[in-house]
């Protein structure tokens, strides 16, 4: 007669045996593992990392050189002059909204001796003294 402990052991062994069978179903070939190991040995990850770091460093140096070259071979005054002129002539895109109708009436002192019709036809006023 088997003890409960033996039964437990047998049950666990059976469960682990099933796990082992499942593991063996996806077992990689020994030679393949060994060949991969040798490939890694010949071209280790550290060497790959080193190459990556070197490539990144070379890219940074190259980018720096290009930027430095562009700065050295660019004419600074020609570059700044258009900026000044463009700033002076800059107009706000919404400036037109400030031009309200009849705005010029508020900006000028009214001429009490003249008729409003003179404004419409200024030539008549200017011609009058001469005529």
């Amino acid at each position: 007669m088997t003890s409960p402990d033996d039964r437990d052991d047998a049950e666990l062994r059976e469960l682990f045996a099933e796990l082992g069978t499942a593991d063996r179903a996806e077992l990689p070939r020994y030679r393949a593992v060994l060949e991969q190991a040798l490939a890694r040995h010949r071209f280790p990850a550290s060497r790959a990392r080193s190459l990556t770091v070197r490539a990144a460093a070379a890219a940074v140096v190259l980018a720096g050189s290009v930027i430095a070259y562009q700065r050295l071979h660019h004419d600074p005054p020609r570059h700044s002059a258009p900026t000044t002129s463009s700033l002076a002539s800059w107009k706000s895109p919404t400036g037109i909204l400030l031009h309200t109708p009849g705005r010029e009436l508020l900006r000028e002192v009214p001429d009490l001796d003249s008729s409003i019709l003179d404004r419409i036809t200024p030539t008549t006023k200017s011609e009058a003294p001469g005529s």
Partner: protein
């Protein structure tokens, strides 16, 4: 020579062994390369199972650990001195390698080619049995996942690899008493969880 092999060394047909660096000569003091290759091949399935257990069932990581462990063996970085069985020693190497890989946590994805996988030769059980087996395995893995790492290791070594507690202790680099304690507590907890989970 420290190790006595039970069988004659196999002939190495694959050209991979001579490609290993000259450091491999160091290990030839204790074991011939051909014998090493033969022993490793014989234990490959078991080693893979143990590597899986050491890597939290991560297949890719387990393969990388195996690669590193085999390299160590062939390059002479890990030398078998005959103080235990070759299997116990190899499992110790795999365990240490897995721990190193975890610590370094470096992902090596420079794979020249996909690995060939041996397909199961038999058509397998019918779907109902397969489903039942899968559920039982899930329950086992889930219960194992809740154990302490040392408890998990000792149970894997004893029940999966049919090792004695003494051999498991050697693999785990702990004393026999410690291994026995982990074994007893781990087994009780595992059975408790399996019985509790049982539908």
């Amino acid at each position: 020579m420290a190790l006595t092999l039970n069988r004659p060394a196999c002939h190495i047909s694959a050209p991979v062994i001579p490609l290993i660096s000259t450091n491999a000569r160091k290990s030839s003091d204790t074991m011939e390369r051909a014998q090493l290759d033969s022993e490793l091949e014989d234990l490959h399935a078991e080693s893979f199972g143990w590597a899986l257990a050491c890597c939290g069932r991560d297949r890719e990581e387990a393969e990388e650990v195996l690669q590193s462990a085999y390299l160590k063996v062939f390059a002479g970085k890990a030398r078998f001195d005959g103080r235990s069985t070759f299997r116990t020693w190899l499992f110790g190497v795999i365990r240490l390698t897995a721990a190193e890989e975890r610590r370094r946590n470096i992902v090596r994805r420079l794979r020249a080619a996909a690995y060939a996988v041996i397909a199961p030769s038999d058509p397998g059980p019918d779907p109902n049995t397969a489903l039942e087996n899968a559920q039982r395995q899930d329950r086992l893995l889930s219960a194992l996942g809740e154990l302490a790492p040392r408890q998990r290791e000792v149970l894997q070594l004893v029940f999966y690899h049919d090792m004695t507690i003494e051999e498991a202790a050697a693999v785990m680099s702990v004393s026999l008493g410690t291994a026995r304690t982990h074994y007893e507590r781990g087994k009780a907890r595992l059975l408790g969880k399996l019985t509790g989970d049982r539908p």
